[in-house]
């Protein structure tokens, strides 16, 4: 078997000599760095400490689990680093560090390793880590402290744009630069778009999911605005704020595109992106929460096996329905 170089492994699959799991994950780390820098500028250096703790905890738990279970230690593939970074991006600044470590434990041990390690997680590990923290320490998770150093006040606990969005559109420039309250990695839309564009340009992620997801949310919000009787320009403006505010860009570029928890085929990816957009808009508009990206992602992650099954490509000449000739 060895000399035929047939390697059976879970996705992410090896595409060429230069694209191994390690390289792909390094690319993702690079794509996340501008946002981390932006967060450090906006919220202060504590953000770097928090990120360092989640990354170290994720790598540490993965190593510990694999050593205890006598599995090959896969830290070299950087996937735990990516999980740690994305988890930190999902936490508010000045979040207690020990709580962040619990999030890392849930992400790596419960969601990833207990289900079989990389490629077998049923949902995005960082996402479940975030949701567990959100349900466990709700008060702490929605305390957004925003240091408005240039307005004379040391720090200010403010509403996030998602709350403010209900009172009309927001200054787009603030949303783009991220100079507002929120979780670490969601505020600066500009760096998220740069990171996402980098990943698409280097073909690490396919543009189908982010484009259908973000485009879908924009379209639904625009149509809802029109249906509500607003003028076209006002609806377009509020739809634009709704894609720049909140966790949508972070979710669409970095969490929805996780190889293991997104569909394989292009049509499947399209359906997945659209489904995410529908669920996110529905939660944002009609549910008791102001932000719906994380729950939409979790729900759609669980639907991915079914989307894969339904969007499976058929070999030419094999009829619909029966898959007799397959395999």
């Amino acid at each position: 078997m060895e000399d035929r170089k047939l390697i059976v492994s879970p996705s992410p699959h090896i595409l060429s000599k230069h694209s191994t799991t390690r390289n792909i994950m390094l690319m993702v780390v690079i794509a996340l760095l501008p946002t981390l820098a932006a967060a450090a500028i906006i919220f202060g250096w504590e953000v770097l400490l928090l990120t360092g703790v989640t990354v170290a905890a994720c790598v540490g738990f993965e190593t510990l689990y694999c050593v205890i279970m006598k599995k090959k230690v896969p830290v070299g593939d950087f996937s735990a680093v990516v999980t740690g970074l994305i988890l930190a991006f999902n936490l508010p600044p000045s979040f207690p560090l020990w709580m962040a470590v619990i999030g890392a434990f849930v992400a790596i041990v419960i969601v990833k390793q207990l289900f079989g390690g990389i490629g077998f997680n049923f949902a995005n590990p960082a996402l479940v880590g975030r949701i567990v923290l959100q349900l466990s320490f709700t008060g702490r998770m929605i305390t957004y402290i925003y240091p408005q150093s240039w307005s004379g006040v040391d720090a200010l606990a403010t509403a996030t744009p998602m709350y403010a969005l209900h009172n009309g559109p927001l200054p787009l420039m603030d949303l783009l630069l991220g100079t507002h309250a929120g979780v670490l990695g969601e505020t600066c839309a500009l760096t998220l778009i740069i990171g996402g564009a980098f990943l698409i340009a280097t073909k690490v992620i396919s543009p189908v999911i982010p484009l259908t997801y973000v485009g879908g949310v924009f379209a639904f919000k625009f149509l809802l605005g029109l249906a509500g009787g607003a003028a076209a320009s006002a609806s377009a403006l509020s739809a634009l704020s709704s894609i720049l505010a909140g966790g949508l860009l972070l979710g669409a570029f970095f969490m929805a595109t996780d190889y293991t928890t997104s569909p394989y085929t292009r049509s499947g990816k399209f359906v997945y992106g659209l489904l995410l957009a529908i669920v996110t808009t529905a939660i944002r508009e009609w549910a008791g929460m102001v932000e719906g990206v994380s729950y939409a992602l979790l729900l759609c992650n669980l639907l991915v096996p079914y989307i894969n099954e339904l969007s499976r490509q058929r070999p030419m000449g094999v009829g619909r329905g029966k898959r007799k000739g397959a395999a």
Binding site: M99, F120, V132, L135, S136, T138, R140, T260, P305, N308
Partner: protein, 226 residues
């Protein structure tokens, strides 16, 4: 007819090998619902054990009399009588437990563990074996409930049996006493039971592996651990 097992084996089956909750996956509804506090878990476990032993013995004694076509209604009548008895006793002597368990106390009547053991064991075996089976299964159920509720109460409320364990500076993880936390603990304990059994050198039964999973067909991890 299954082949005869030794009485010791019958008694210990419920602890791990055929643990009603973790291996037979019976009685999951009360398990998830009442295990937010150790007191409730323990109370539920003892109440169910009592009913299980009594109903197993009566059903086993009557197994030659009950016509098989109406056996389930007969089992339910026997079980319901004992549940009523327990319910009245608890209401009279431990009203706090009655209030905490609420509707789950009368619902022991339809607990699948009790009906399951009546159908699978008591209706085919003698009175002594059935009593031991009821005791073993009841102890297995109670152990799991106490473990389950211990983990959830400690992490979710920071207390054990109502006594504060975690210092007040550590905020408890409220997800653990919410339904998702229950499912997390359920999954982890189930995996642990299979892990311990595998370590003890016994092969877990096929039903416990991928064969029993409804999503096995499209699961990427199918068959990995086998």
């Amino acid at each position: 007819m299954e082949k005869k097992q030794s009485l010791g084996r019958v008694f210990t089956a419920g602890f791990l090998r055929e643990n009603p909750v973790l291996r037979l996956v019976l009685g999951t509804c009360p398990t998830l619902a009442v295990t937010t506090a150790v007191f409730n878990g323990l109370g539920m476990g003892i109440a169910a054990t009592f009913v299980l032993i009594c109903s197993n013995m009566v059903i086993s004694a009557l197994r030659k009399v009950i016509p098989s076509s109406v056996r389930l209604p007969c089992f339910i009548v026997v079980i319901a009588s004992f549940v009523t008895l327990v319910h009245m006793l608890i209401r009279a002597y431990v009203p706090a437990l009655n209030a905490a368990l609420g509707v789950y106390l009368p619902l022991i009547t339809v607990n699948c563990i009790i009906l399951g053991r009546a159908e699978m064991f008591a209706s085919k075996n003698g009175v002594l074996a059935s009593a031991l089976d009821g005791l073993g299964m009841g102890i297995g159920f109670t152990i799991v409930l106490v473990l389950f509720s211990g983990i959830r109460e400690l992490l979710g409320a920071g207390t054990l049996l109502g006594f504060a364990i975690l210092p007040a500076s550590i905020a408890p993880m409220s997800i653990m006493i919410l339904p998702p936390g229950g499912f997390f603990v359920f999954g982890v304990l189930m995996a642990l039971a299979i892990f311990i059994e595998t370590k003890m050198g016994k092969k877990p039964s096929k039903d416990a592996a991928c064969g029993a999973c409804p999503s096995a067909e499209m699961c990427p991890a199918k068959g990995v651990g086998e």
